[in-house]
């Protein structure tokens, strides 16, 4: 069966520090991978998605970046965090090119920038 791992679960970082959140998927190959951000009490904002190794599409211009160094690994990064980067970050995967394959989410990372 497929599983998705996302870490860390909680992170407190000072303004201006770097960020690296990691997500890995097991039990499937060539998945589509996604990073979403959820502000407190709000909906999910699509940040990045990837349909293959090294292929990253950005939905929202910001100081965040994403990378996909391996087929089932997706990393969210920042060189210098802003207060506005605080939120709940969710990694997710779906079957490639299959509209009937729903999103499967990780447990999320709660990021607080102080």
């Amino acid at each position: 069966s497929q599983t998705i791992h996302q870490w860390p679960a909680t992170l407190v970082q000072p303004v201006g520090s770097p960020l690296s959140l990691e997500c890995t998927v097991e039990g499937t190959s060539n998945p589509n991978l996604y990073w979403y951000r959820q502000a407190a009490g709000r909906g999910l904002q699509l940040l990045f998605y990837s349909v293959g190794i090294g292929q990253i599409s950005s939905e929202v211009p910001q100081n965040l970046s994403a990378s996909r160094p391996q087929d089932r690994q997706f990393i969210l990064s920042s060189k210098k965090l802003l207060l506005s980067d605080s939120g709940f970050y969710l990694c997710a995967w779906s079957g490639s090119g299959q509209g009937d394959s729903p999103l499967h989410f990780g447990n999320g990372t709660r990021l607080t920038v102080t």
């Binding site: 699509l46 998605y49 499967h104």
Partner: protein
């Protein structure tokens, strides 16, 4: 980008009663997919139900069913026999061309 609108920020329902959550969306595509996700206090996102736009028959999963009105671009979720465990945020989502877009969510509170 496709837009998804959930006009009910918060709703309450008595246990065992029925509640309907609304969702409208905007797309220029003829074929797409629609989903409802549940996010309980644990914040884990859980798929509730999905619908393919080219299928006229409304999807049903146990106590959960949808009312899909393609011409009106409406996709509401009906929860029958509400249970305390249904208390959660509910998100409507659309899929097209590798991207999933979510609404702002409806917070559902099931009261005993």
């Amino acid at each position: 980008a496709q837009t998804v609108t959930q006009s009910q920020p918060e709703m309450s329902v008595q246990e065992a009663e029925t509640v309907t959550l609304s969702c409208t969306y905007d797309t220029s595509e003829s074929n797409y997919y629609l989903f409802w996700y549940k996010q309980p206090p644990s914040r884990q996102m859980i798929l509730v139900i999905r619908q393919e736009a080219y299928k006229q028959q409304n999807a049903t999963e146990n106590r959960f069913s949808v009312n899909f009105q393609k011409a009106a671009k409406s996709f509401s979720l009906k929860i029958s026999d509400s249970q305390l465990g249904d208390t959660a945020m509910y998100f409507c989502a659309t899929y097209n061309f590798n991207k999933f877009y979510f609404g702002s969510g409806t917070k559902l509170n099931v009261k005993p």
